[in-house]
Every structure is written in structure tokens, then in C-alpha cells.
């Protein structure tokens, strides 16, 4: 069942009426919501429901078993749970990829390819289930009744494509809706944020139905199908167009999911924050699929050691985290390469940041401009996947389940880097690096627009190049795309409107956020009836402007 369809509209109205009608009956409400979520999920294929149910029961049991066990035994259970979840994911999602890879290299050793149906959203709900078990293990969360956990895992707004909502975020909100202060007191629900929900749903609808579908149909799909047939202009339009398309597609879905959840009384975490505004790859991952980067950081990067051990281990951790993050998106080498590009870029940024800091320390001339060596710029580069120092984050997360940013001013890595720099400063390569980094520094400290623009340009194009790997059906096609981009005649395009849409899609992210908030505020202050008519008109407009049909959401396959 896709969000932007009449079928879903009818389904949601029915669920919403039940949601209102059962507000004083928590048990009935949870049962209804669970059933509705399974109907939503089973609409694709009823067989999927069995796996979801199995995952629910198993992970709930892992959490329940842990409750009274000593720490060592808790750890064993947690490891078992992680293994079970990854085994399930591996079987359904990666088994074929694994056997194909083996088959092409060393032989399968008799392993047959099996015909599994890949359940939609398996990666999302598996990650959510894992976060529950790990949070119970870390004592961030008490084990919960099966029904509560089942509602959390299956809650239909976020079931198939996120955002990845953690149990520590969802379950307290479930309690607020369903737990009475006392056995006799009535349940009170806060007013529904209906204007914000409508705004989000309308925005998501437009992104998906109009922008993403238009770009896919008009330029991206045809060009990626046969890059060597396209002109350079069309290849460039497809290159930038896919960047806009995948953002519009995924963030559009997320907007709708957050809006729908809001109507049902749940506030989900933000998942996108103008990612193409990023000035570094690290900054990009703070803005793109934020709930996944949070998950990868807290449940993979930091447990691997984060940036606590040594620079080399940190680079390894970054690469491993991003490659596994790439593999999470799909069982294909393309996704591995996509993750590898991001991991290498993150490691590269970190390396440059460390070198800058060490040279700054050795410099005779004092640092000029607003930034200190450990100021805003360098601290951004210094941290790992996001802005969190590993040690601090893990300690904080263990205590409260929250993540708090803290940037160390100095540390062992800085000293190590300084020693390294001292030993090799005379080398020619070092001198070249120093020149490059000083040029970047000069831009950064000049207070001019040049530095940020250069950073933005580089970041955006690294992300864009990686998107080609993400989009192409094979390495061969990605190579074809790059080759054609380099060699195709400039040519023209039959779709000048595409250029306008792509430019508008990128420019919209560079505009100050306050413009969007101002528009939202204007909408929220309108007469409620006018708001409703406006929302209906917006649905009409989106359905008219979009191409026929509703293409599947890109992230459904993950």
C-alpha cells in the first residue's frame, strides 16, 4: 500500500476513526493499531507478515530474557540476538549476493541459490528491532510487554522505509497515549498538530509525486538505461537530476511518514536537513538519512572503537561503517562501492583535518581569522561519522539513551598527528599537502564566500559521483555513464524544463530554512477551513502535475 494512493487514503481514514474511537481503551487501541499495521504491510504480500511476526516475537523474547540475568549472560543474549537478526537479514537479503559472489570467485561449494522473496522494509524493521535489544542490554530501556513492542516494530507510518525510530523514542510516546495516570483517571491526549501534519504530508506528496517521478521519467531512467546514447547535456542533467530525485523520493516519503504519525499522536525524529547544503561529507551525513547515520554511529561505529583507539583504526572504522551502511542499502557491489566512496571521503576529511591541526601547531605565524585550530571548522572534521566524540557519546548514551555533542580540544590523536608531522615535515609530499591544506585554510579564514562555495562544490560532487554508483544497475553501467560523461558530444536536450526543476531542487536546499518555516507559519495561521481546502487543492495539484501512476519509492527496496 503506497501512501499517495486512494487506497491508502481510505485505509488511513478508517484507522484514524478507530484511533479516535478507542482513545479510552488502550488495549483495544494497541490491538487495532497492530492489526492495521499488519494489513498495511500484508497489502504487498501477506506472507511478509509471518516474518515480521517472527522478528517481533524473537526480539521481544531476547529483551525479556535479559531482564534478570547478570551482565555477562546479558551480553551473551545480546550477541545471540544480533546474530539472529543479522542471520535473518543475511538469509533474505544477502544470500543470493553471497552465493553469486562465491560462484564467480571460488565456487559455491555446493551452496544453491534459493528463491527468497525479499520482504519490503526488512532492513528497517530489523535495525529497529536490534536497537531495542541493544538498548535493553545497555539498560537504556526496560523490557516491554509483547504488544507494546509489536506495535513499535510494526507501526505502519515508518514500517517500510523509515525513519528508523528507536524504541527509546517511540515507547514513551506510546505510553503517553495509552497509560493512565491512575486506574480511574481518563486518558488525555494532546491536541493533534494537524497543520504541521498537513504541511509535511503536502510537502512530501509534492516531492514524490511531482519532482521525483518527473525527473525519473523524463531524464534519469532513460539516460541511466543507456548512457552512451545520451548527449553530455542530458548526462549532466541525469547526474544532477538523480541527486534531486533520490532526495525528493526518500525525503518525500519521510515527510509523509512523519506527518501521518503526527496525526496519530507520534512525533518522529527528523530524517533530512537540507543535505545538499553540506560543506563536507561528514556534514552531509549529519543531514542525510539522519536516523540511519545515528544508528550506524551508535550501534556500529562506536562499538567498533570509534575514534578512540588510533587514527588508523578510526579510518578502518569509518570505512567499515560506511561500507556496511552501503551494503545495508542493497545486496550488490554497487552499494558496497557507494559506501566505500563515502567512507574514504570521511577518512580523507579526517586525515586532512588532523594534518591541518598539527601544522597549525607547528606554524610560526599565528592562526588568523575567526577560527582557531580547534575551532568550528577543524572540530567538524575531527569527529567521526557525526559530531559526537566516541567516548563521550557512549558514556552519555549508556546513561540516558541520548547523544550529546562534545568536541575535545586536544587529544592523543592530535599529539600523534603532530609527531608524525614533525618527522616528515621536510618531505616533498608533506610540503605539497601543506600547500593544499593552507590554501583551504586561507579560504576558510578569509571570511569570503569562496571557501564555503568551494567546499560545497566539492562535497556535492563527491556525493553526486557516489550517487551514480548507487543508481546504476551494474558497475559496467556506472563506468559507461562516466565514460559517456567524459566523451559524449555536448549536444542539447529535449527537456529544458528538467534543467529548471533540477536547479530549483538544489536551490531550494540552499535557501535559508526560515523561508520554509515562515510559509508554514502562514499556513498554520490561516482559517482551519481554508487550510483544509488548501490542502485538498494541493493534493489535486500534485496529482495533476505528476506523471501517471505512482512509481515505487526507491527506499522500499532496502
Amino acid at each position: 500500500m503506497l501512501f499517495p494512493t486512494v487506497t491508502f487514503a481510505v485505509f488511513f481514514v478508517a484507522v484514524f476513526l478507530a484511533h479516535l474511537g478507542l482513545k479510552d481503551r488502550p488495549l483495544a487501541w494497541k490491538t487495532m493499531m497492530l492489526a492495521a499495521s499488519y494489513v498495511f504491510y500484508g497489502w504487498w504480500n501477506w506472507r511478509f507478515c509471518g516474518l515480521l511476526a517472527l522478528s517481533t516475537v524473537a526480539n521481544w523474547a531476547f529483551g525479556a530474557v535479559m531482564a534478570d540475568l547478570p551482565q555477562r549472560a546479558r551480553r551473551v543474549v545480546m550477541v545471540l540476538a544480533a546474530a539472529a537478526n543479522l542471520a535473518m537479514l543475511g538469509l533474505f537479503k544477502y544470500y543470493g549476493f553471497f552465493v553469486e559472489a562465491l560462484s564467480s570467485s571460488i565456487g559455491t561449494g555446493g551452496l544453491p541459490l534459493l528463491d527468497f522473496v525479499l520482504p519490503i522494509g526488512i532492513s528497517f524493521f530489523t535495525f529497529q528491532a536490534l536497537s531495542y535489544v541493544v538498548d535493553v542490554y545497555r539498560r537504556n530501556l526496560d523490557g516491554r510487554p509483547l504488544l507494546d513492542f509489536a506495535v513499535y516494530l510494526a507501526f505502519f507510518p515508518q514500517l517500510v522505509a523509515g525513519p528508523i525510530v528507536r524504541a527509546t523514542e517511540f515507547l514513551p510516546q506510546l505510553d503517553r497515549l495509552t497509560v493512565r495516570d491512575s486506574p480511574t483517571s481518563p486518558l488525555t491526549r494532546p491536541p493533534i498538530e494537524v497543520s504541521e501534519a498537513a504541511w509535511l504530508i503536502g510537502r512530501g506528496l509534492f516531492k514524490k509525486v511531482v519532482i521525483a517521478s518527473y525527473l525519473a521519467d523524463t531524464i534519469v531512467d532513460p539516460v541511466f538505461a543507456a548512457p552512451s546514447l545520451a548527449s553530455k547535456t542530458d548526462l549532466l542533467l541525469a547526474f544532477y537530476g538523480y541527486a534531486v530525485q533520490i532526495y525528493a523520493d526518500f525525503s518525500g516519503y519521510t515527510d509523509m511518514a512523519i506527518g501521518i504519525a503526527l496525526l496519530l499522536g507520534f512525533r518522529f525524529p527528523t530524517n533530512f536537513d537540507n543535505p545538499y547544503r553540506a560543506l563536507s561529507i561528514q556534514d552531509f551525513w549529519r543531514r542525510w538519512h539522519m536516523t540511519l547515520s545515528r544508528w550506524l554511529q551508535d550501534y556500529l561505529y562506536i562499538p567498533l572503537g570509534g575514534n578512540r583507539i588510533s587514527p588508523l583504526v578510526t579510518y578502518r572504522n569509518l570505512m567499515a561503517t560506511m561500507i556496511l551502511g552501503g551494503l545495508w542499502h542493497g545486496a550488490a557491489w554497487n552499494f558496497v562501492a557507494w559506501g566505500g566512496v563515502h567512507g574514504a571521503a570521511l577518512a580523507g576529511e579526517r586525515y586532512i583535518g588532523q594534518r591541518r591541526r598539527s601544522w597549525d601547531w607547528l606554524d610560526d605565524e599565528p592562526a588568523a581569522g575567526p577560527s582557531t585550530p580547534d575551532g568550528v571548522t577543524s572540530s567538524k572534521v575531527d569527529d567521526g561519522l557525526a559530531t559526537v566524540d566516541a567516548t563521550t557519546a557512549e558514556a552519555t548514551a549508556t546513561q540516558t539513551g541520548t547523544v550529546t555533542a562534545k568536541n575535545p580540544q586536544t587529544g592523543p590523536e592530535t599529539e600523534a598527528a603532530a609527531k608524525t608531522a614533525t618527522g616528515t615535515a621536510a618531505g616533498g609530499r608533506e610540503a605539497l599537502w601543506r600547500r593544499v591544506v593552507r590554501t583551504i585554510d586561507r579560504f576558510d579564514r578569509s571570511n569570503s564566500w569562496v571557501g564555503p562555495v568551494v567546499r560545497w562544490f566539492i562535497t556535492f560532487h563527491i556525493v553526486g559521483l557516489a550517487w551514480v554508483l548507487f543508481r546504476a544497475d551494474s558497475f559496467g553501467l556506472a563506468w559507461d555513464f562516466f565514460t559517456a560523461l567524459a566523451t559524449a558530444p555536448l549536444g542539447g536536450t529535449d527537456n529544458p524544463m528538467v534543467a529548471l526543476v533540477v536547479a530549483a531542487g538544489i536551490a531550494a536546499q540552499l535557501l535559508p530554512s526560515r523561508i520554509g518555516l515562515r510559509l508554514q507559519l502562514i499556513y498554520a495561521r490561516m482559517d482551519p477551513t481554508l487550510q483544509s481546502i488548501g490542502f485538498g487543492g494541493w493534493i489535486f495539484l500534485a496529482s495533476r502535475l505528476g506523471p501517471e501512476g505512482v512509481a515505487p519509492f526507491i527506499y522500499f527496496q532496502f
Binding site: 494512493t5 534459493l114 532513460p222 543507456a226 559496467g476 490561516m526 496529482s543
Partner: protein
């Protein structure tokens, strides 16, 4: 309860708050209803289109009648003007295209049923939820298996893809169409069309074609289409337009049928999926399409349906393949490409994986049990391309060498049957 509150650092940022931005449940319902009604009255034509895409039957008739009433009322109140204005601004044709099956078929296929569809009232491409839905009802006449050889006509020009001894080499295809000389100045014209199943193959076909300076290709794929619902997309009208152009394509590559497991409308009557009337009507439409490609110089390569995982779907796919086989056998310019041998398991049924010539295992079928994967599509496209190369002698010295395909796949002839 010791649960922590949601992390403030990661939840959505504070939104502008206004007194009108919140509502209780009842007011929210009111707002939702107003919004949906607004969208509905402005989009009554889309409601009609959605109803028309439903499987033929009583539900469709009822929904269609109700939405038509609304549509007429909206038109009476000029509420259709915004949609008309937008359609005009976007350059879309608001006029219904109708079905060409109604007017052409009877004159082209003497042996086909003489009936015709009633005039359709909707455009050929309308917004919807992915096309007309397959019918839930199935007939009891399933179970017949596809015939891979003809007994009631000339030998089938069978383009099997496996290159096994059963395969009729492409060069031996009945040369009813004269082979013209192909050169960079006078390229081989190819037109490839069909549904999403065909699109997978067509996209892979583009790669070798795009690397050849001797061919020009046009792809025309429409998802969720087929021959069963010309009211949604009319393939006969489309192929008439294609063949009626100045220079018709030298080769037409076509693949539909995956969406045709539903009732059809014939002579204003709903015919049940799989019934004798359904089979006769489907045969008539296939024949009409094939005959339209008979220009005296064009060849039609019709790709059959691969085995389906779902039994009901497989049953009707077998029927469709049988029709394609026999109708192709009657027409020397038509080559039926049977995917069955390559995509079947040892028992002749559905099999998701293939083993290529190097002994590597490949997943050939998509998780839905219907579509073909990238590897499988490349495999099919590679063999079609080899057939075309043979047929038009594109490997002559003047032709550039063929670029390798994006993915290494097996060579035809070394695949298991």
C-alpha cells in the same frame, strides 16, 4: 518506568505554533474530510479513470457509475476547469484516444472473432495507481500447457534463447522480409515496446545497440499495460502509429502479457479470464497486433512470458504463450521468442536462478516471481541482439565490433534447457 525521553537533539525542530494549527480529533476529521472532498471534486475525471482501471465486474460498474455522476456534476459546475487548464498547460491531450482494437481487428484477421469493443471514453494514459488491476477471478479452464510447436500451421519460427539443438538459428528464420543492406547512413531501425517485463529486456538491449553505429532504436515501454485493457493503453493503436510512420521499423521487439491476467471486455460483454471467449478475444488481439506489423519489410520478434512463480499466473501465462506460438506460426514475419526453456527448472516450472556458461550461478528472476533481473534481462537481450546481428548481417567488416555487455553473461547455446 525508567525509559528515557526522546533525545531532544534528534527530534524534529520546533515548529511555528499558531492557535489554528492544532485540533481535537473531531475537528481533525472535519479537516480531513474537507480536504479529501476538495481534492475529489477537482479530480472527478481521475476518479472515473481509477474506476475504469478496476477489474471488469460489478464493483467496477458500481464505482464507475458513481464516479461518472460526480464527474458530470463537477463539469456542470465548471469544477473541471482547473484540471483542464493544467492538462492544457502541460500539453497533454484531454481527448479520449479510444481503442483501436474496435475498428481494425475485424478487417485484419479473418479468422478472429468478429466482435469489437465498445467505444472507450477515457484517454489512453490516465493517472492511476499503476494500471488496471488484474482480475481476482480465474477460470477453471486453466491447466493447458503452452505448446512450443505448431500443429495447425507452418513451422514455428522459434527463436529459443538457449541455442540448444532445438533452437532454430536466427539466420534460418523464414526470410519473408527482404534483408536490406545496413550501413551507418542507412541504419537498421528497431522499435521495442511492451510492459514493465519487456522494459527490463529493452533496457538491456539498448547497450549493445547503442554501441553499434548501424542501428537506431526507439523504446516505448508502458508499465502496467497489456492487451487486455486497451482502455488503459492501446497497444494496437500505438503499433499502427509506429508502422504508419514514414519509414516503418525493420524490426519490432514486443513483450506484453504480464498484466493480462484479468477479465476483458469484448462486444460490450465482460469475458471471464481463461474462458473460451477470453482466449478467443485475446487471440484476436494478438493476431491484430501481429498483422499490423506486416509491412512486407518488417519483422516482429514477440518475446513470450517466462514461467511465473504463482500457479494462477503461470496458468494464464501458459495460455498466452500458446496463443502467441500458434499465431506466430501463421505469420512468417513473426518470430516467437520462447523464454520457457531458459527460465524453467528441471521440472519445467519456475526457477529463480540460472547457471551461466561459466558455471556461475545468477539470480534471474526478481523477488516478485514475475519480473526478470538485470542478469536475466541481459541474457535475453544478448540473444535477441545476436539474432538481429545474424539476420541483418551486422558483423560485416563495415560494422564496428560489438561492445561487451555491461554484465558478463553466458553465451547463447551453453545455457541449460
Amino acid at each position: 518506568m525508567s525509559n528515557s525521553p526522546p533525545p531532544q537533539t534528534t527530534t524534529a525542530e520546533p515548529r511555528p505554533v499558531a492557535s489554528r494549527s492544532r485540533a481535537d480529533g473531531r475537528a481533525t476529521i472535519r479537516r480531513i474530510i474537507i480536504a479529501f472532498l476538495t481534492a475529489a471534486v477537482l479530480s472527478t475525471d481521475q476518479l472515473v479513470a481509477t474506476a475504469e482501471q478496476m477489474p471488469y465486474g460489478q464493483s467496477r460498474s458500481a464505482v464507475l457509475a458513481a464516479s461518472s455522476v460526480l464527474d458530470r456534476a463537477a463539469a456542470g459546475l465548471s469544477l473541471d476547469r482547473p484540471s483542464s487548464a493544467i492538462e492544457s498547460a502541460l500539453g497533454r491531450d484531454p481527448e479520449p484516444a479510444g481503442s483501436q482494437f474496435a475498428t481494425v481487428v475485424a478487417t485484419q484477421e479473418p479468422g478472429s472473432s468478429a466482435g469489437s469493443d465498445p467505444p472507450e471514453t477515457t484517454p489512453d494514459r490516465r493517472p492511476g495507481n499503476g494500471g488496471p488491476t488484474g482480475a481476482a477471478t480465474t477460470s477453471g479452464s486453466g491447466g493447458r500447457t503452452a505448446s512450443r510447436s505448431s500443429t495447425d500451421g507452418p513451422p514455428v519460427t522459434h527463436s529459443s534463447l538457449d541455442g540448444t539443438p532445438q533452437r532454430t538459428p536466427a539466420a534460418e528464420v523464414d526470410p519473408v522480409a527482404p534483408v536490406r543492406s545496413i550501413s551507418p547512413e542507412d541504419k537498421l531501425r528497431l522499435w521495442a515496446g511492451g510492459d514493465s517485463l519487456g522494459e527490463y529486456v529493452g533496457n538491456q538491449l539498448l547497450h549493445p545497440l547503442s554501441d553499434s553505429e548501424l542501428t537506431e532504436v526507439e523504446l516505448d515501454y508502458r508499465i502496467s499495460t497489456g492487451l487486455a485493457r486497451p482502455d488503459y493503453f492501446d497497444w494496437l493503436g500505438q503499433i499502427q502509429a509506429v508502422m504508419g510512420e514514414g519509414q516503418p521499423p525493420d524490426a519490432v521487439i514486443f513483450m506484453v502479457g504480464g498484466n493480462d491476467d484479468q477479465n476483458m471486455l469484448a462486444q460490450s460483454e465482460v469475458v471471464e479470464l481463461g474462458s473460451d471467449a477470453w482466449l478467443a478475444e485475446y487471440r484476436r488481439r494478438v493476431a491484430a497486433f501481429m498483422d499490423t506489423t506486416n509491412t512486407g519489410s518488417s519483422l516482429l520478434y514477440w518475446i513470450g512470458l517466462p514461467p511465473m512463480r504463482d500457479d494462477e499466473r503461470q496458468s494464464i501465462s501458459s495460455e498466452i504463450n500458446a496463443i502467441l506460438t500458434t499465431e506466430a506460426a501463421k505469420r512468417p514475419w513473426v518470430t516467437f521468442i520462447d523464454l520457457g526453456p531458459q527460465f524453467s527448472g528441471p521440472d519445467g516450472g519456475y526457477q529463480a536462478q540460472i547457471t551461466d556458461s561459466d558455471g556461475n550461478q545468477r539470480v534471474a528472476r526478481a523477488p516478485d516471481g514475475v519480473h526478470i533481473t538485470f542478469a536475466g534481462s541481459t541474457w535475453v537481450a544478448d540473444d535477441i541482439w545476436a539474432t538481429i546481428v545474424d539476420r541483418w548481417d551486422l558483423t560485416n567488416p563495415a560494422a564496428p565490433p560489438l561492445a561487451p555487455l555491461a554484465v558478463e553473461i553466458s553465451e547463447p547455446g551453453l545455457l541449460p534447457g
